[in-house]
Symmetry: C2
Subunit: 225 residues, 2 copies
């Protein structure tokens, strides 16, 4: 029987690369996406399109409305997505988002008896979110090992963050080697309904620069440029 992995799967560049890595390592993959009140819900459409063309055992989209709490430019209509670089933790930070997503992943992992949860967090070319750093991931693992039946029995699920110390350029090069079609992925924080990107938000800027630095033609469709 193959090893099982849950992939936190947004349909963006990082999580799609993560999926390809897990599959290349022989895992049976179970994709987990969230409809959490994000303004850029077309990322979920991207996730569905990618899943269709990948050998995924199951894709679950969990409804969990974090927009009800507000507090982030990604979920709160009263806060605009910034279109220029900002200092410190940006307004696109969604309070405790990775913790919530990993926790729900942990619940599913325990029922599936999954060996791993893959998360495409990245602490190099990233937006400065606290819940993307290695020390956070380590602390989540320690907590998860104490939280679950499988954890205290010594066969708990392992968090896998293969992108955490890669640059965006390295991620793209690795993905292309593994056959990822980045034209299908949506990273933009304010993508339109067709999945076209703005080209000016933080996420677009980081992605654009990475394609440029990797000397790879940017396959992203933009609506603003």
């Amino acid at each position: 029987m193959n090893k099982k992995a849950i992939i936190l799967f947004s349909g963006g560049l990082d999580s799609t690369t993560c999926l390809a890595i897990a599959q290349s390592q022989g895992y049976d993959c179970y994709a987990l996406s969230f409809s959490y009140g994000q303004k850029h819900s077309s990322e979920l459409e991207a996730a569905k399109r990618i899943v269709k063309h990948s050998k995924i055992k199951l894709h679950k989209i969990i409804n969990l409305d974090l927009s009800d709490f507000g507090g982030s430019a990604l979920t709160d209509d009263a806060i605009d997505v910034p279109e220029t670089e900002t200092e410190g933790i940006p307004s696109t930070y969604v309070p405790a988002r990775n913790t919530v997503f990993l926790s729900v992943g942990l619940a599913w992992a325990e029922v599936l008896k999954a060996d791993a949860i893959f998360a495409g967090v990245n602490a190099v070319d990233y937006s400065g979110y606290p819940d993307c750093r290695p020390e956070y991931i380590d602390a989540f693992q320690t907590m998860a090992d104490l939280a679950t039946k499988s954890g205290i029995e010594g066969h708990g699920v392992k968090l896998q963050t293969p992108l955490i110390s890669l640059t965006k350029v390295e991620i793209i090069k690795l993905g292309i080697e593994l056959g990822v079609d980045y034209s299908k992925t949506v990273s933009c924080y304010q993508a339109n309904l067709q999945g076209q990107a703005c080209g000016v938000c933080d996420s677009c800027r980081i992605r654009q620069k990475a394609f440029e630095d990797a000397s790879v033609d940017d396959p992203t469709a933009y609506y603003k440029q």
Copy 2:
């Protein structure tokens, strides 16, 4: 301005006592309940009834269907709630439930700038769930301090588990001192729509024995006895 606390609030004996403790300590209280696919959804009705008579700033009920994953007698129709004592971690254990609930609480806490999250976990007279033990709570706190903007700025939310080392008898005595009306609370894993209890599930048995040992008349309405 008063301190703010989020109370993980099921409408059961423990969380209702927790709410009374937080209020006695001068916190403005925000109750957080979950519709997670539990069979005993009448606990949510109990939660709403109790909230009506308590001075609560806001009550949010989050929809997050963990029954989709299955794996627990509390959410999975294919698994009966046990009516006699069992060995080890019982089938009523819901995978990663406290982790998911605390994580969503953490998200709300960060937006509210809350000082504390109160959780009525209890490691003495309890069902043997791994996510009720002090070492688990400590690990969650460590993780939360690394996960959030407020945490890394040094003013993160503090988990408060005032019941963790109390016996059920001590909890009831404390609650009565604080004026808790336990007749309104629902602890039963298979309570009927009127909020009446079975009297035979694990949760009922622990609760019943506690009222008996505390020499307090059991105010619970039962449908099986």
